[in-house]
Symmetry: C2
Subunit: 303 residues, 2 copies
């Protein structure tokens, strides 16, 4: 089933205790698309870039068979830029600089040949734009949404309007507490699921992720890595692996949802091992399946 991904494309300057990487290709939709590309037949990206987005950047996406015809190139401007520095514990970061550039006027236009897509992934962008995207799609099979505290605080009403039309909602633990107004994650999940999404994933960073559905709760561990070089994009990479696996399932069952969470976790565990998209742009299915097996092993009782 084809996947349509709408979100940001960016250049990041990243500093971690292990080094730095400048002008790294990033953005929510980049990470989601690269990660999903190992599973999905057909990936269509919608976004906006400036005149500094070079052929090499497109090539990196094309090499993963990603359809970039939905990416608008604004010749008069620059691509969205973000600069951040991670602290020693890698769990907290400071944003040093944000330049929206061409992203400030992003008005997502879904090309005609994308409008019958099966799965729509709405990366972390203004919920008003997310609504605009949904208005242009013909009955999608599944809508997945990611957001962040910035929109929960800044545009709660638009976000809640969008959530009514969302099947799978992915956010992290602090965002879930913020949105629900409840510090307890189980209660938060119940409150948020009442806003619309039947399937909710709460990411807990190095502590794994929780999947909430009508069937109950599934707790996925995070991979206990010895070295984490750069957490940038790990959440989007999770979403990409999650939705990538679902796109290849003939039927979405509880088992497949749980497997999808583990595939997402496996992809995220690769992402943090190198800077930016370096690692997730150059994987093969063998190592992905191998990492997935390690995840199974991690929570297997019978040895």
């Amino acid at each position: 089933m084809p996947i349509l991904i709408v979100g940001s494309l960016a250049f990041d300057d990243i500093e971690t205790p292990f080094g730095r990487s400048d002008n790294t290709l990033g953005g929510s939709s980049t990470y989601i698309a690269l990660s999903a590309s190992y599973f999905a037949d057909k990936i269509q990206m919608v976004g906006v870039v400036g005149n500094d987005f070079e052929d090499g950047h497109f090539k990196l996406l094309h090499d993963r068979d990603i359809d970039t015809r939905g990416i608008q190139v604004v010749d008069s401007g620059k691509t969205f830029r973000w600069a951040g520095r991670y602290h020693y514990d890698m769990n907290t970061r400071d944003t040093l600089d944000t330049q929206l550039n061409v992203f400030a006027d992003f008005d997502p236009h879904i090309p005609h040949h994308y409008q019958d897509t099966g799965i729509v992934v709405l990366g972390n962008i203004d919920p008003e734009l997310q609504l605009k995207v949904l208005d242009q799609i013909n009955k999608p099979e599944m809508v997945i949404l990611d957001t962040m505290n910035f929109w929960i605080e800044g545009k709660p009403e638009a976000l809640k309007e969008t959530l009514k039309r969302v099947d799978v909602f992915i956010l992290n633990d602090s965002e879930a507490r913020l949105l629900s107004g409840d510090p307890n994650l189980v209660k938060s999940a119940r409150i948020i699921r009442q806003m619309g999404p039947k399937t909710l994933i709460i990411k807990k960073g190095e502590h794994g992720a929780l999947l909430f559905t009508d069937s109950g709760i599934f707790a996925a561990p995070a991979f206990p890595l010895e070295s984490i070089y750069d957490p940038t994009g790990a959440g989007d990479t999770f979403a990409g692996g999650f939705i990538g696996h679902l796109s290849r399932c003939p039927e979405i069952t509880e088992t497949e949802l749980r497997r999808a969470v583990l595939y997402g976790s496996a992809m995220a565990s690769f992402c943090v091992e190198k800077f930016g998209t370096e690692k997730i742009a150059a994987l093969d299915m063998l190592e992905i399946e191998d990492r997935y097996e390690s995840f199974l092993e991690l929570s297997r009782i019978e040895c």
Copy 2:
């Protein structure tokens, strides 16, 4: 296999956002013993109490078939007292008062008929006292040790000496980082296991626990509870359930160790549902097995 538990007995004054409980029976060995009592044939406690430790307190232990003949009663003093207040998030607490009382001069004496015990659990007490206990035991089958940051910072050398004689070491994530000097838990685990204990459990509170053995890593989730009333004793209750399950296994395999972590987690999840030992003093095996099944369900992939 009989379990010998050496640790503190105390009276706690506990304040949480949900209420308060004064003069509650507590202490590391109390929680460990009550929790283990649902699994083990024979539990022997060694500790010290004052003249304020009443028949009713002994009765609560005897009702769970716990052998208290190793508990010294010092008529001239009072039992160890602790008072603490938990913050809104329940993850942090302030100690309001600590009165060591008779515990200040605790000199553990292992009764003759306890010296051939199979499993020795050294609750969170001065590592010099833990060593003294080990010197009095004839070749135990297994030594389990719990500790806290207070001893890691205050008596690191004695603690490391004790660790050489320990099979299973249980501590929490911040204590593991403190002891190893490494922020990464996988590296911490390797460093700590080199100090002696082949089996290491790192507790992560609401994020579950990690088991490190020669066979690899096992990640146990925490039970996603809607209401946590009082986290006091949850770590000790975990240890009790863990060792309780192992005590009934004819052979300690990797599978049994993993199951033991889940039984420990199940017991801890009960502990926090009421104040003090109220819940774990009055369980039955049916609800314990039921909670254990819920833990299995929580990380089961195939539904």
